[in-house]
């Protein structure tokens, strides 16, 4: 008879046992028990082994930190880098000064802190700001929205702030545009973008973080399209219009872009996300901004780059010196894909070709693909977003500039973050691989008294003061020429140079560093060098680096002391050129017409107010340089609330 109970222990009496007497039954029983114990042991060892599976990931060895019972000589707690948490060499990137003998960690008084507020960079009157949102030009006004915390100088309770300007420089604050008043944005009214429809109407798509912390996309539009100030906004009653699609996590779906038209007359947007550690951009088509179809493919993906925040996608002209509407396409057009990488808090871009039919994009140079190649800015700069300014036919870039001092200082000063001066973006025809960024021309309306210096010679190892009066609000345009003889005579070497791992301006090379010292006091105890460093390879080829050195920018120990910068392409026949905007605690510097850009936050304790000065310096060992400069004092932009009375502007 067939045993109908195959999973019962053999020792049951039911069922026939054709093999006969009980002795035979005991053998399988012993076998079973021994197998059971073998498995038990194997499982036990397997668990042990996997739990002790080798230490790896390249993080710092444990004895460098020590346990809680470290010897008393281990006085120095390791500085906590603001870079990636583990596996980054701390050696030359020390956040804190090395010899801070008797330095009070918190030297800040109200005079120092209030000096830090900028005169002509956009910032709200107080509290925290982050990403730029939905910039656009509408009915005579430039609009700027931004991530804002109305309650504190730290991130949290995020809503949309709003301001308007006639010229991208003189801003007037308006009431909050959107607050967290719906279930679908209760936990955050996050980043979004504006699209201007052919009839001139505006739609806004933005990310909401729901009551369950799911990231969704919502539609909003002006309550009154005839109001040039766009003060009141209405959220679409059927929100959200997009929820995370299958395969995408609830927490990896945010920051919708401005829409552009497809050849079929539909609108297309892209939204950044990730799959494991591959950063991707999803593509959706829509006819009405309410119903969407997810395209089968994605716009692009780059492995290892992590979450793509604030994706931006736009065309640039290969031939013309103007911006293009986001929907423009054609043979003389290239497309840029940009992503803000969550993993390292930097903005990366890449230039390539857009294939409209299947909604994909391919980089011109895969080696400098999105997230692994060029950055908009090698300093502190994130969540950037462009818009097409139909008023002046240009593409304008906004970027969030955070703080690099301690949270304690921010609590005391009651505010945190500024925006960069808006920059125009153009394709760099000369290199074909870079974009050029340049402060919008309207900033020149702030220029007051100017100073000119021609062919000032700066010998190797010297510093030349530039008498320009107060030196905290400046627009500097400079050209440098380096002694040709030294360029040729110098022996090249194999040593690779990088701004961030160098010793800053105290590290002397034959052909650099040289440039400007901004926000420096007379004794140079505090100084922020903005400079070039030319390195000659063993093949005789010259490489030029552009850096900002914060290591001696302040005697305070609780500010970022890193050295920012990168290679800057300098083509045959080009002089070294520099533009620097100094505005209290922010320095924006542009090399070679904006091919390489660095923004720094600087927090001096002494080089403030009338004590801040400007110098030329040359710390090279062999080459002398000569510099020609035009420097302007800059007026304040008087950024303030929109006046209640209707007469004033």
């Amino acid at each position: 008879m067939v045993d109908t109970r195959p999973f019962l222990p053999v020792s049951s009496h039911a069922g026939s046992d054709p093999t006969g007497p009980s002795e035979n039954r005991r053998k399988p029983m012993k076998l079973q028990l021994s197998i059971f114990f073998v498995l038990l042991t194997v499982g036990f060892f397997a668990a042990l082994l996997t739990s002790n599976n080798g230490s790896d990931n390249g993080f710092v060895k444990e004895n460098e930190h020590g346990s809680l019972a470290s010897p008393s000589s281990e006085k120095q707690l390791r500085p906590v880098s603001r870079g990636p948490a583990v596996g980054v060499s701390e050696k030359s990137n020390r956040l804190f000064a090395k010899d801070n003998e008797n330095q009070l960690a918190y030297p800040w008084n109200n005079s120092m802190l209030s000096w830090q507020r900028t005169a002509f960079h956009f910032q709200p009157e107080k509290n925290w700001m982050n990403d730029p949102n939905g910039p656009l030009f509408y009915k005579g006004w430039y609009h700027f929205f931004y991530q804002y915390n109305p309650h504190a100088a730290v991130w949290g309770d995020i809503v949309w702030g709003h301001a308007v300007s006639k010229d991208l420089i003189h801003w007037l604050h308006l009431p909050l545009a959107m607050v967290a008043d719906q279930w679908y944005d209760k936990n955050g009214v996050w980043t979004g973008s504006a699209t201007i429809l052919p009839d001139g109407k505006v739609v806004m798509l933005y990310t909401g973080s729901t009551t369950e912390n799911v990231q969704v996309q919502n539609l909003a539009y002006p309550a009154d399209h005839s109001d040039p100030l766009l003060i009141n906004w209405v959220k679409y009653s059927g929100n959200p219009v997009l929820v995370p699609p299958p395969g995408i996590l609830d927490k990896d779906f945010r920051d919708p872009t401005t829409a552009w038209l497809t050849s079929e007359g539909k609108w297309r947007i892209t939204i950044g996300s990730k799959i494991n550690k591959t950063g991707i951009a999803l593509v959706y088509d829509t006819k009405d901004f309410i119903n969407y179809e997810l395209l089968d493919g994605i716009l692009h993906a780059v492995p290892g780059t992590g979450m793509w925040e604030c994706v931006d996608f736009f065309p640039v002209s290969k031939t013309e010196e103007n911006g293009l509407d986001t929907s423009v396409n054609g043979p003389s057009v290239k497309h840029v894909v940009k992503a803000s990488l969550d993993d390292d808090r930097h903005d990366y871009y890449s230039i390539g070709t857009y294939h409209e039919k299947n909604g994909t994009w391919i980089p011109d140079e895969p080696k400098i693909d999105v997230g692994i190649g060029l950055r908009y800015d090698y300093g502190i700069y994130y969540a950037a977003k462009t818009f097409y300014d139909q008023n002046k036919n240009r593409r304008v870039l906004w970027g969030w500039i955070g703080e690099s001092d301690s949270e304690a200082a921010e609590m005391q000063k009651g505010w945190a973050s500024v925006q960069s001066i808006p920059r125009t973006i153009l394709f760099d025809k000369k290199t074909g691989t870079h974009l050029l960024q340049w402060p919008v021309e309207e900033i020149e309306s702030l220029r007051l008294k100017s100073y000119e210096f021609n062919q000032v010679k700066v010998q190797a190892g010297s510093v030349v003061p530039l008498d320009v009066g107060p030196a905290t609000q400046l627009d500097i345009i400079a050209e440098f020429e380096i002694d040709n003889e030294a360029l040729e005579k110098t022996t090249g070497s194999n040593v690779t140079f990088s701004c961030s791992s160098s010793g800053g301006t105290v590290e002397r090379g034959a052909l650099g560093p040289f440039g400007l010292l901004v926000l420096a006091d007379d004794s140079l105890s505090e100084q922020t060098p903005v400079y070039f460093y030319i390195a000659k390879g063993s093949d005789g080829k010259l490489k030029t680096f552009f850096c900002n050195d914060q290591s001696r920018s302040s005697v305070a120990s609780d500010v970022n002391k890193q050295i920012y910068g990168n290679l800057v392409p300098v083509l045959e026949g080009e002089k070294l050129s520099l533009r620097v905007l100094v505005d209290h605690s922010i320095v924006e510097s542009f090399a070679q017409g904006g091919r390489t850009v660095i923004t720094s936050r600087v927090y001096p304790t002494k080089a403030i107010y009338g004590a801040a000065k400007l110098f030329l310096f040359n710390n090279a060992t062999e080459a002398s340089v000569s510099a020609s400069l035009r420097i302007w004092q800059m007026n304040s932009a008087f950024i303030r609330p929109y006046p209640n009375d209707k007469e004033s502007q």
Partner: protein
């Protein structure tokens, strides 16, 4: 024979499931802590909190954040007590600076870190954790008597090291 084979399969499944389930929570703590520079501290902190047995990485980060806050409050109390009886003006100044640092950790850094973890925007948790560690270090650095440690060295070290652990775990959520 089939009986034996099927029994064998059943027991294999049983054994491995049993071990996977009972070791998984410990494994998550261990694999997570391995990615921080203070493995022992991390494991000790997590294991001493009952929530860790069912927590995902986000939950583990939350536990560490709570621990930083608790240690910071304890250290702040220590600083306040010292301030009550301090005579030396240099020491007094250092302690006052530390009050500022610790208030920042307790009122700004940790609440923001917890909020950011909850709202799935971990980069702000990473930044806040970094700052918390820096505040603790700044406090330690402000004491003039080098090379010996400050009177609150162990508090500063605990808060600093736990902040680094928090920073590392929050980075895993990026």
């Amino acid at each position: 024979m089939t009986k034996i084979i099927s029994l064998f399969i059943l027991e294999a499944v049983f054994c491995f499931t049993f071990f996977t389930v009972s070791y998984s929570d410990i494994n998550l703590i261990q694999t997570t802590c391995k990615k921080t520079p203070f493995y022992d501290l991390c494991v000790l902190t997590l294991k001493s909190d009952p929530r860790s047995s069912t927590a995902d990485v986000s939950g583990l980060a939350r536990i560490v954040a709570d621990s930083v806050k608790a240690k910071a409050i304890a250290t702040l109390n220590q600083i306040s007590a010292l301030l009550n009886s301090v005579k030396d003006p240099t020491l007094e100044k250092a302690l006052e600076g530390c009050i500022v640092s610790y208030n920042t950790i307790i009122q700004a850094d940790i609440p923001v870190a917890i909020d950011a973890i909850e709202k799935n925007n971990p980069k702000f948790a990473v930044q806040s954790a970094t700052d918390a560690g820096n505040e603790a270090q700044a406090c330690e650095n402000s004491f003039a008597e080098k090379p010996s440690n400050s009177p609150i060295f162990s508090g500063n070290k605990a808060v600093h090291d736990l902040s680094v652990v928090l920073q590392s775990i929050a980075s895993l959520l990026l």
